[in-house]
């Protein structure tokens, strides 16, 4: 029984390690230049934000359009704190404070607004993100529209890789637990969930707060990596960029989010030569995917090493443990 869990855990760890080594080897042999490195880091950052958003949209079924606002909180926390304390310790503290602050804002905003349904929630979260951006633009401490420059850099691809893996582990394990099942139950049928003693608001808020904290983490990493922040980096467009990853990959599929984050990151490089036409192509892809596959490319499908590697050992499935 416990052996099977260890087996699955080890096989996932091996997969992560293999990807790590692959990137490492490619950097040694200069297959990935500095530009490729930047792409990998930005993919990882988008992935962290998108996995957080998929927890909110896909798992708890709450349509948030305000992810950029929470990223902005994390980005500015890191910009201010890591500049004041330019050490690794300062940077780590800045990420923690950013995530905490973002979580608190999400809690305050979420408790009343998560009662709203569907598109009303979307528009309310959009409003919250815009309010955050306007505050950042006008407050003295955030230095207005110009933003903050020369933020010390503590981010390399290894850090982002490690945190991406950690994010996926946390979210996937959470989803496959009592808490996660309750979150999904609220999505599937709120009235039924409530009739079974599930405090629906609580579980929506849990998902929303974790999503916001992951967004802040992504924002903090980005601020330190590109070494600058400005309010226009966290406009509605940024929320849409993350939303596209979630929607194209499949609302409710973490595997889909991971694949799309990587694919779009690479596509971004390929389309770089198209200049501003790139955005037009993205828009068309978004519409076309919705028209032909409204559930996203992977739907709610999840890759499972259990079925891929161990499907012959059918006996293992009889123990009803879906926790691999």
């Amino acid at each position: 029984m416990d052996k099977t869990h260890i087996k699955y855990t080890l096989s996932w760890a091996t997969l992560a390690l293999m990807i790590f080594i692959l990137i490492f080897v490619m950097t040694i042999f200069n297959i990935i230049g500095p530009y490729g490195m930047t792409t990998i880091v930005l993919i990882g950052i988008n992935l962290i934000a998108a996995v957080g958003l998929n927890l909110v949209i896909g798992m708890s079924g709450q349509f948030s359009l305000g992810h950029a606002g929470f990223m902005a909180i994390g980005a500015y926390a890191t910009a201010l704190i890591a500049t004041a304390i330019p050490t690794v310790f300062g940077f780590v503290i800045s990420l923690l404070i950013g995530a905490t602050l973002s979580g608190i804002v999400a809690l305050i905003v979420g408790i009343p607004t998560l009662r709203l349904r569907g598109d009303y929630l979307a528009i309310a979260t959009l409003g919250v993100a815009e309010i955050i951006r306007i505050l950042i633009m006008n407050l003295k401490i955030t230095r207005g529209p110009a933003g903050i420059f020369a933020i010390p850099s503590f981010v390399n691809w290894q850090v982002v890789f490690g945190l991406s893996v950690l994010t996926i582990i946390v979210v996937v394990n959470l989803v496959r637990s009592t808490t996660g099942r309750a979150i999904i139950a609220v999505r599937d049928n709120e009235i039924a969930a409530e009739s079974l003693g599930i405090n629906t608001t609580k579980y929506k808020v849990i998902a929303f707060v974790i999503g916001a904290m992951l967004a802040a983490l992504a924002g903090g990493l980005r601020a330190s990596f590109i070494q600058s922040v400005s309010p226009q980096d966290y406009s509605f467009m940024q929320s849409i960029t993350i939303l596209i990853i979630v929607v194209l990959g499949g609302i409710g599929s973490i595997s889909g989010t991971v694949i799309t984050a990587v694919a779009l990151g690479i596509l971004d490089v390929v389309l770089q030569s198209f200049g501003s036409l790139r955005m037009v192509i993205y828009a068309l892809i978004l519409i076309i995917v919705m028209l032909f596959r409204p559930q996203g490319l992977l739907g709610t499908f999840e890759f499972s090493l259990k079925t891929m590697l161990f499907s012959s050992g059918g006996d293992n499935d009889k123990d009803h443990s879906k926790n691999a």
Partner: protein, 260 residues
């Protein structure tokens, strides 16, 4: 004489100008099986929604027996009422369709168990132990109702009768003291209805709980109910044993109209 476990006093709710439930005072005793009948639109489901907390009453109060006393639950939301021992099924089945049968039952056990989020994220041995224990409990419950063979099916793939059955199992997983069944036989064929009749009796005996049943199938409701309330235009028209109700002139008139 067993004690009263559910009681309403002058319970009313108005939507706009319509009084859907009008000064209803009913009660149910421990381990009693109470039927609730009445023509369409009489306010039966609305009454259920008032009792389970989906709607808040305009007037009157709902009380249940909990912790050795009768407490007023007027202001409690549905999830809090569930935690106090109220469970229900729905007229239009409300399962978690994207989840398996087993998961549907596990979800119903959420509130009664501590959730170990941190242990779950870290996948500690205690997480696996807890998880296994809960799955065994859920499987044991499914076993009582002969549903272990479909435990891994998606709820959406079950037959109509099986879906209704799962909804009842799921409600029982919250370990309620009072179970509300809203038209459990709706859309069932005679064979399924027969099985349901046995099932309801089995639950009453085996789980020792109070069951309140809305049902249009008169054979079913007369066969299982110990006492009946008849609702018409939101008011209680009559109450009594199945025999008394069947011979009550006012009830016959309400059901058969002027021609009766």
């Amino acid at each position: 004489m067993t004690r009263t476990i559910l009681k309403t006093r002058d319970l009313s709710v108005r939507f706009g100008g319509v009084t859907a439930v009008d000064q209803v005072s009913i009660e149910a005793r421990e381990n009693e099986l109470v039927g609730l009948i009445g023509p369409n639109g009489a306010g039966k489901t609305t009454l259920f929604n008032l009792l389970t907390g989906v709607y808040k009453p305009t007037n009157g109060e709902v009380s249940i027996f909990s912790n050795d006393k009768l407490i007023n639950i007027n202001q409690l939301s549905p999830y809090k009422r569930s935690q106090l021992g109220i469970a229900r099924t729905f007229q239009n089945i409300r399962l978690f369709k994207s989840r398996t049968v087993l998961e549907n039952v596990l979800i119903a056990m959420t509130a009664k168990n501590k959730s170990y989020s941190l242990q779950a994220i870290l996948r500690t041995p205690s997480f696996y132990k807890n998880e296994e224990k809960r799955q065994q409990q859920a499987m044991a419950l499914l076993d009582i109702f002969g549903m272990t063979n479909v435990a891994d099916e998606l709820a959406d793939n079950l037959s109509y009768g099986q879906q209704r059955r799962l909804e009842i199992v799921r409600a029982l997983a919250t370990k309620p003291a009072i179970l509300f069944l809203d038209e459990p036989a709706a859309g069932m064929n005679p064979q399924e209805t027969k099985e349901l009749t046995d099932l309801i009796k089995q639950i009453q005996v085996q789980f020792k709980m109070t069951i309140i049943l809305i049902e249009h199938d008169m054979n079913l409701v007369m066969a299982v109910s110990e006492r009946l309330y008849v609702l018409e235009y939101g008011k209680v028209l009559a109450t009594g044993t199945p025999i008394e109700i069947q011979n009550n002139p006012a009830v016959i008139k309400a059901y058969l109209g002027e021609e009766g």
